[in-house]
């Protein structure tokens, strides 16, 4: 998927979601960040107050219309706002770049799509977005989703969690299949939570990974050097497998709850809109 392709698909996905919801929630929860007025003068766009000019104020800062009404010169002050930064991680590991059937997209493609769509929504709300595994400052402004898409497409397949963290108090969104051992995930989550980040885990799986649809004699090969495994009679293992997957998910949910994050799941054969709505509401809280 090219960056342009990704962007156009994400745009159409994001266009369907009202960003009013998030804005309304955000106004109610100013403390938790976002493009939030700090109720004191500072850099921002919204009007805060007029004050008389003092020596040292630049001439350009004077509001001439207001000053004309009286004998004093007034300076227009705006409310100080800060933007919340959201950092997204679309897991680029080889296992994410897999699909069980030609009709589906790979898990990584789906993760990228969700990341950019989220980027659009956040950008519309004036927030800054960035990639967890992308060094440098977060993107802001109209071009942010585009740059996000480019960065995503250029991501190299890496099997580990990104090393450099985000700044404290930012939000992180982790889009992965989370098929690594639960302990690894727990360790990393604790580290991030300790740094003051709030976060969201979304497990994206292929339907074949949920259902193990193979029959007869099959040899399965892992994508991240797990080796391979011969199943003489694949269908007889299906029940056990589904249980193992359930157990893994329970472990993940537990980890998320422990650090105060949220954990949701998503399948690549389901519409991306559903996952986006999930993410969106989760972030608005």
């Amino acid at each position: 998927m090219t960056a342009a392709d990704l962007q156009s698909r994400a745009e159409s996905l994001a266009a369907g979601l009202p960003n009013l919801l998030l804005r309304a929630k955000r106004v109610a929860a100013t403390v938790s960040g976002g493009l939030h007025g700090r109720r004191r003068p500072g850099s921002g766009e919204d009007f805060w107050q007029f004050r008389q000019s003092q020596p040292g104020d630049p001439l350009t800062a004077i509001d001439w219309r207001q000053s004309a009404r009286s004998d004093h010169l007034y300076v227009r002050e705006t409310e100080w706002t800060i933007a919340r930064t959201t950092r997204i991680w679309a897991d680029p590991s080889p296992s994410m770049r897999w699909r069980s059937s030609r009709d589906l997209e790979t898990k990584h493609d789906r993760a990228c799509l969700l990341a950019v769509a989220l980027g659009f929504l956040l950008e519309q709300s004036g927030e800054r977005i960035g990639l967890l595994d992308h060094p440098g400052p977060a993107f802001a402004g109209r071009t942010a989703p585009t740059r996000l898409a480019h960065a995503l497409v250029q991501a190299r397949p890496v099997e580990t969690f990104p090393g450099h963290g985000a700044k404290a108090r930012s939000t992180i969104v982790l889009l992965s299949d989370f098929l690594m051992p639960a302990e690894t995930i727990a360790r990393q989550a604790e580290r991030w939570a300790a740094a003051g980040m709030s976060g969201h885990l979304m497990q994206i799986l292929d339907p074949a990974e949920e259902e193990l649809p193979y029959e007869g004699r099959v040899r399965l090969r892992g994508l991240e050097r797990e080796g391979d495994m011969l199943l003489p009679h694949a269908e007889s293992l299906r029940g056990d497998y589904v249980q193992a997957l359930e157990a893994h998910r329970r472990a993940l949910t537990a980890i998320a709850r422990q650090v105060g994050w949220r954990f949701t799941t998503h399948r690549t054969d389901k519409p991306a809109r559903v996952a986006l709505t999930h993410l969106y509401t989760a972030m608005a809280c």
Binding site: A208, G222, G227, L231
Partner: protein, 875 residues
Amino acid sequence: MLTFATPWLLAAALALPALWLLLRITPPPPRRFDFPALRLLLGLSTKNRSARSAPLWLIILRLTLVTFLIVGAAGPAWRRGGERVDGPWLIVVDNGWAAGKLWTQRRDTLLQMIRQADHDNQTVTILPTAAPADGGALALAGPSSAADARGAAERLVPEAWPGDRAQAAKLLDALPHGRAMRVVWLSDGLDDDGAATLAARLETFGRLEVMLPSADSLPQLLMAPTSTPTGTRVRLRRFGGGAGHSTVRAMDEQGRSLALIDVPWEAGARGGEAEADWPAELKNRVARLVIDGEEHAAATELLDGSWSRHPVGLVDDGAADRIQLLDDLFYGERAVMGFAEARHGTIDELLQRPLSLMVLPDHGALPDDQREKLRKWVEDGGTLVRFAGPALAGNPDDLLPVRLRSNERLLGSALSWAQPMSVAPMPDDSPFAGLSIPPDLTVSAQILAEPDLTLANKTWAKLADGTPLVTGAPLGHGWLVLIHTTAWPGWSNLALSGLFPDMLHRLLDRSIGVAAPQTGEKPLPLAVQLDGSGHLVPPSAVAQALPAGNGAIIPGPRHPPGYYGDSSARRAVNLAPLLNLPKTLSLPEGALRLDPSRAQADIDLGAWLIGLALLLLLADLALAGGLRRAALAAFLLLSLGDAKAADDVAAALDARLAYIVTGDSAVDETSRAGLAALSRQLARRTTAVLAEPAGVDPERDALAVYPLIYWPLSSRQSGLSEKAQAHLNDFLRHGGMLLIDSRDGGITPPDRLRQVTRGIDIPPLALVGDQHVLAKSFYLLHDFPGRLAGGALYAEEQGDAAHDFVTSVLIGGNDWAAAWADDRQGNPMFPVVPGGEGQRETAVRFGINLVIYALTGSYKADQVHVPAILERMHH
């Protein structure tokens, strides 16, 4: 009945049970998948997961597949027709004249039988019944392997003479009696003395099967035509058959059709005739009659002078005192000499034998009985040419085209006002139209006609003042012609001029010919002969001259039917009159009738079985390996079959010349080497870089990718198939160029050319001169020699405007490829005659001009105007 070509291969079927066991105990190979969530699986135990064996239906599918392969490889064939003797083959093939009709069918049947023998691994002996054209004796071909027999069968052609079955029966003595043989006689359906002997002899070798053509497909014979006063009566013979009709085609010397004569047949009738009603001029041009659709020697009637000769009678009044240069008859006799037979005599003497034209010089009054005889002869079709003179002026009679004034008219004399008169140009509707008048021709005396309304119509030539010089009028079937001046130079110098013999020849051409046998005075060598298909071909080396005299001729390799002698004395020997008309052959006692129309072919099941096995293999792959692998396999299979398309694509990638593969390996190799050498010369001398030439089969290959196709004619080539014709026509219509080379300096008879190029749209052609674009497209050329020089080159008379007036067809015979061909080291392969290396260089230049012309079209036609432009600039 099912037979196998290699039955021992069936033993491989014994391995099938082993295969069954093997398939049962070996589990199918695991299918492989990538699976990211493998870590979750790793912890699970795999107890109670025994290997699954291949499902039963898969085993059955595979066993069927292998069975089909084994049986298919053993070469099964379904043989129709129940029991057959299984033994060596003895095939007697009638290849006398009567076999020419339907020869292709006969040969196909023969090849079919050889294929069957090949399948059964039997030897084949072929016995033709007609003496071969090379003068050798009749011989058995074989017993030999089927492959050798196929070669012999393909070389077998119908001959233009009857077969000798008695002689063939004798040859069978040499054949050992061993096992029972399959004895087949592909007969021509006609009986003769030797037929019974041959049949009896054949039956000693085994059960005889005879192929007898149906009554309708027996040959028809064209007998010698007879002349009637108004035309010609053609006579046909046949051997029974239903009602219908045949068409006799009259052709001229060049093989152009002049007329078609429809001959109706009544049911069961053995003879048919029809009368062609045609004018004498047309009749005199007929050189050959052919029955359409009958391809054998007895369906062609070659005509020579004896069919339609034009003897001229010169009426001699018997006067003794003749002074040569003043004689009435001297000039007339000299005029017809070498052109027609001239006889002297009195009217009575002359009329005793058939005459075409009688010259009657100035003669006094004719006795009544002679006049009546003459009138009757003219009414029956004779042409009487009279000359004026003092005697006629005195007492004109009624055997004249016009009424005469009783006095002669003198010009240039002391009493005359007028000077000797010249002759006016010939009127367009006169028999003399187009003859040029010598400027010094004058007439000083003539006899005038009484003017009347019909005089203008009867005037064939007139003087400058409009008075008649020659008048002519029909009488009965014949003509009365009067030349209004003397037959000797007394009144005019007409008799001394070149116009005089020309006029007499024109009159002779109009006269009705007389059938008269020609007497052989000297031995005549063979000039052209008829082949077994009824076409004229160059004479064979073993043919002997026709002996003098009228002895009986036995047609055979020594005396094939055809034209003997040269242009001065030519005699046609036709086959049909020399045959004692045979009867139809009835089935010999105890013999089986082989139906030629019903296919005797074995049905080859092997290919079907193997095809079926491949389909099963595809199904297996689809089930076991996924659709994609099956699709790949199907694609590979299909691409094997479509290798030809790949060739066409390869041909299209580079510009290259092409030649038509004739099947004659020497000719094809020469074409290839010639075009390759020409391509190299082009690369060296011009900017045209061509790839290696390609040999094409017009039936199969895509021709559109070649700018120029060279077509050498080989003697073994017959006409093209309909598909090939359609392909070539399509190629020519869409701007392709075809160079047809008869490789013999242009002496191939037009007939043969027409036969080979049958079905190809060849536009009207014209000679290529040095004003043609071909002569200046690269080099400036004046002639176009190849290995031979002097043969004419023909191109389309008016090119098609849609193709920029570029000719589509070039026809010549200079054997160009042989002049171009070299052995890659640059050494020429063939000597060129007569010009040596200079001529070869011109030949190469012609080749370069030709290719440049084919590639660039006619833009060099502007070169024609260069002299004019230069001249204008000069002023």
